[in-house]
Symmetry: C2
Amino acid sequence: MQLTRQTEYAIRTLIELVRAPEGVMVNSKAIAEKHNLPEKFLNKTIQILARAGLVETRRGMQGGIRLAVSPDSLKIADVLAAIEGKLALNPCLGGDYHCENQYLCPVRKVLQRTQEAILAELSKETFADLAKGEVTCE
Amino acid sequence: MQLTRQTEYAIRTLIELVRAPEGVMVNSKAIAEKHNLPEKFLNKTIQILARAGLVETRRGMQGGIRLAVSPDSLKIADVLAAIEGKLALNPCLGGDYHCENQYLCPVRKVLQRTQEAILAELSKETFADLAKGEVTCE
DNA sequence: TTAAATAAGATATTATTAATCATATTAGTA
DNA sequence: TACTAATATGATTAATAATATCTTATTTAA
C-alpha cells in the first residue's frame, strides 16, 4: 500500500513545472537529470500526464513540457488519479465490481471512509503551495 | 495503492474467529472453504498473524486457530501492520530511509498526514464492531 | 498407531512495476 | 532542404512483488 515510483516522479516533475517561469517549455531531459530519474521512463510518465490534461508537450527544438492547469487547482490527488487510476483500496470499491453485500459489509464501509480520508488529505494542498516549500525529497 | 489480497484474507479470517464461540479452536480449512480462499496460502497468512500475536494456533486433531487478543482492541490497522508491515506511503516515510530534506519537504508532509489519516480511519472500529455487521464482502 | 490438523521451506506462477530499445514524428534553424 | 533537438509510440525486457502450490515435517487427540 504505497505510491508507485511513477507517481512520485510525476509529482516531482509537476513541482518543477510550477516553479518554472509561467508558460515556458521545460526540457524533460533536464528534469530527469536534475532528479536523477530514468529519462525514457519519465517521458512515458509525462505522456500519461499529458493525456490526462495536466501538462502540455511540444516536440522539436525549443520543445518541452509545461503545465496545462493552474497550480492553484492542481492537487496530489489529481496526479494519483492520472497515474494510478481511480483509487480503490479493495476490489469491492472499484467501479465495475459487483458484490451483493456491498451495502451491508462493515469492512467495505471502513475502507470506503479510509479512501475518502486519503483523497481529502491529498486534496488539501495545491501544487502552488507545495512548490513554495523549501525542497522536495529525493 | 491498495490492500493486498492477503490482508483481506486475514481480515475475513479474523472476523470468523471473532464470531466463533470464545476460546474454541476453529478449523482453518473450514474458513478457506467457506470463503473460497486458497487453503495453503491462507495457512501462510495465519502463520503471519500468529507470529504477530493476533491468533493462537494448535496442531493436531481438535487443533485449529483462535483469537489471541480481545476483539475490543483489535483493529484493521493492526492487521495491516501484521501482514504488510508498517505503513509507508513513500520510501521517504520508511523507518530506515535517510533524506536530508526530510523535515522541509512539503510532499513528505502531505504524505505523512495522509498516512496518519489512514491509520486513524483503520483504527476507528474494532473487530468486535465489524463482526456485528451483517456480512462480509466476498 | 493412526488420522487430523498446522508448520515450514522451497518452488512455481502470475501480475505489476520499472526500465529500456528502436523507431517515428515534430519543429526550429542554419 | 538538411540537420538537430526535442517528444511520441509501441515493443520488449527486467525486476520486483504478490499469489499460489508442493512437499515434507511436526504435533496431538483418539
